[in-house]
Subunit: 397 residues, 2 copies
């Protein structure tokens, strides 16, 4: 039996692909620091769980396809704190940010069309796109420049007749970059002038450090019809397993089209939405506390990296990732070596190799992503392990 | 701003499209019997809800992409009661049967490919397919023949070089047909001989009446590599709002490919899966009770329809639908007329017009689907309203 070309060509997740090596290392008695995956260890607000028991009907029926009206209201209130005003029919609830992304791509691109994405990028952008026959062209950004955008001329050169949208993760996964208001304005101008959609993946919106003020793409009036905001409770409220995301756009026609896709899959889980309503009521103090914790972790990781010979990275300003250029022949080989052949006092670590986060072939081979989602003490130990591993690795350049 | 052709061409749900007319009728003080949508009124087993509170971790983390191992085990046990043996790596948990369908189509068909589906069919088959650029060709079945399959020669004539799969809903939505073992064997032979996948939508498997023995497509050894079973807890356990479905196939390579799509969307809700595990432990007596109730309802609806002049339908043997040919110019017009201009003692009704359930243009215009998901007393009254409406409708033929 044959399979479709689109599924055959789809790459498996470079984040999850190395899991079997980690399992083996653990089975061999090593402690493995999981720096590979963005699963926060922060407690989910208790209100989520209590809301689950508040469901008082005897039949667990379908919810409406656009999503629970109270949840949409709660999200509207949340956006107001960022000076963004969405009407009730400008937001749709989705199965995680993942579905929001997939639906945004389907609604804006036909097979053969292209999306532009600053690379390295969240690999699932590529996964979703290729599953629906849309290609991804990377706008290369560099570790040496803190992964900021290239100048306008470079962006303009990338646009082809079949370019339909730009996907931007801000703060950036896997880079931790927070784009400046000027960079965003430049991007907005390019997209408005060229009638491109901007799919704004802002799921890490609260994770911005050093007192930087966050600018959302939803705040640019001139791009109201272009911007589609993809959002999720996963990282914001440490509720990845809830799978509640959303699409917000002032482009009502776009929302009406996406609603057809929502109707196709009927609805998002009825009860999880009740939990999500409570999440959106979480007081701002929660973010402050979480933010302080992540900043400490960022500092530990960044300061340790700074001291390692030959390691290149700029201080990341957001999310909970740092993308690092290592003095090694091949980051994937290095990580597998760490898991198979190395330990420091019985400990080793896992990271996500970055080559698969680029669409341009041949770059990123010496880069990896570190997710700082472990407690400070653990991170300190993990950084020590990394330092020693780099010294001992035979493929060091 | 332009949208993709695929989204522009996607039709909105013919089941949900008439909702605004029903809302208006209700606002005008009429009671509207909702016979349009397959939302069961049967109680969800309590164990589902208690399982939600059994989650005892502080962080609601991502689950594994293939789905909770215990839930997969529970589904394997369930399938054994149908003499189907699936291994742990032959089942994936999905966001409802909907996602199982979408992923099956993506994995087997490229843009420009085609799936064959007996029509009238569940309209979302068309929705999902067109969203990913796969076309649907209907194998026409008729009310007069109880919507059974045409002979093998007819099926063979339908197969083109770009035909990749057949989707079969058994018991059938919207028709209530239960295909005979001989019909299924014929279909299996056609698909095996022509290397077509069979996407078997068996979410109504337990809803079979009159002592008929259910034959699953998963029971045909010779088609093991062709059959992909799409399943869901929605109807079986009256848990539509849980959005827990699954894909099962002995074709391990297919499962491995679909797993890449599962990894793309990360996971299915962690806690809903705990509830679903409990659902699969529901004793068989539950099905018996539910089944008896639906049989009574089926009898009420079918007997009432039999007595109405000019109405054509054979006794449906499964699911909780009956597809009916009415003596009217246009079923959609008739339904809108019922909602806008008709009432019988202050009551009216809503059904799903069937034209949108066909891919062949120009047929099904005088047909509608009745979902018998109301209590017996209500159904009796609804049938009386229907009888009177048919007498009074100006577009009667």
């Amino acid at each position: 039996m044959k399979f479709s070309n689109r599924i055959t060509n789809m790459q498996s997740s470079p984040i999850r692909r190395l899991v079997p090596y980690a399992d083996k290392a653990r089975a061999a008695g090593k402690k493995v620091y999981p720096l590979n995956i963005g699963q926060p260890d922060i407690k989910t607000p208790k209100e989520f769980f209590s809301a689950l028991t508040s469901f008082d009907k005897e039949v667990l029926a379908y919810d409406v396809s656009q999503g629970n009206a109270d949840l949409i209201k709660a999200i509207r209130e949340y956006y107001k704190t960022y000076d963004m005003n969405f009407e009730q029919d400008e937001i749709l609830i989705t199965n995680g940010g993942s579905e929001a992304l997939l639906f945004s791509i389907i609604a804006t691109c036909d097979p053969g069309d292209e999306v532009l994405v600053p690379e390295p990028f969240y690999t699932n952008y590529n996964g979703f796109s290729s599953a629906v026959n849309v290609s991804v062209d990377g706008i290369t950004t560099k570790a040496e420049e803190g992964f900021h955008l290239p100048p306008k001329e470079e962006l303009l050169k990338k646009i082809k007749p079949n370019t339909k949208a730009v996907i931007l993760s801000n703060p950036g996964n896997p880079t931790g970059v927070v784009y400046s208001p000027e960079e965003l304005k430049m991007l907005v101008d390019v997209c408005v002038e060229n009638e491109l959609y901007i799919i704004a993946d802002e799921v890490y919106r609260e994770f911005v450090y050093d007192g930087l003020k966050y600018k959302s793409l939803g705040q640019f009036k001139e791009a109201e019809q272009n911007v589609i905001i993809v959002d999720s409770v996963s990282k914001r409220y440490s509720a990845c397993g809830a799978r509640i995301g959303s699409i917000a756009s002032k482009n009502k026609e776009l929302i009406a089209h996406v609603l057809k896709l929502c109707q196709g899959r009927l609805c998002v889980p009825t009860i999880e939405q009740l939990g999500a309503i409570e999440l959106y009521k979480t007081p701002v103090s929660y973010f402050k506390e979480v933010n302080d914790e992540y900043k400490k972790r960022r500092d530990i990781v960044y300061q340790a990296l700074q001291k390692m010979d030959g390691v290149i990275c700029k201080e990341p300003k957001g999310a909970f990732y740092v993308a690092v250029k290592f003095p090694v022949d091949d980051a994937e080989k290095f990580i597998i070596w760490c898991l198979e052949h190395f330990d420091y006092n019985g400990e080793t670590l896992m990271m996500a190799p970055l080559e698969g986060f680029y669409s341009t072939k041949g770059i990123g081979k010496d880069e990896a992503r570190i997710a700082y989602v472990l407690k400070c003490e653990e991170l300190e130990k993990a950084m020590k392990v990394l330092e020693e591993a780099l010294k001992a690795y035979p493929g060091r350049k």
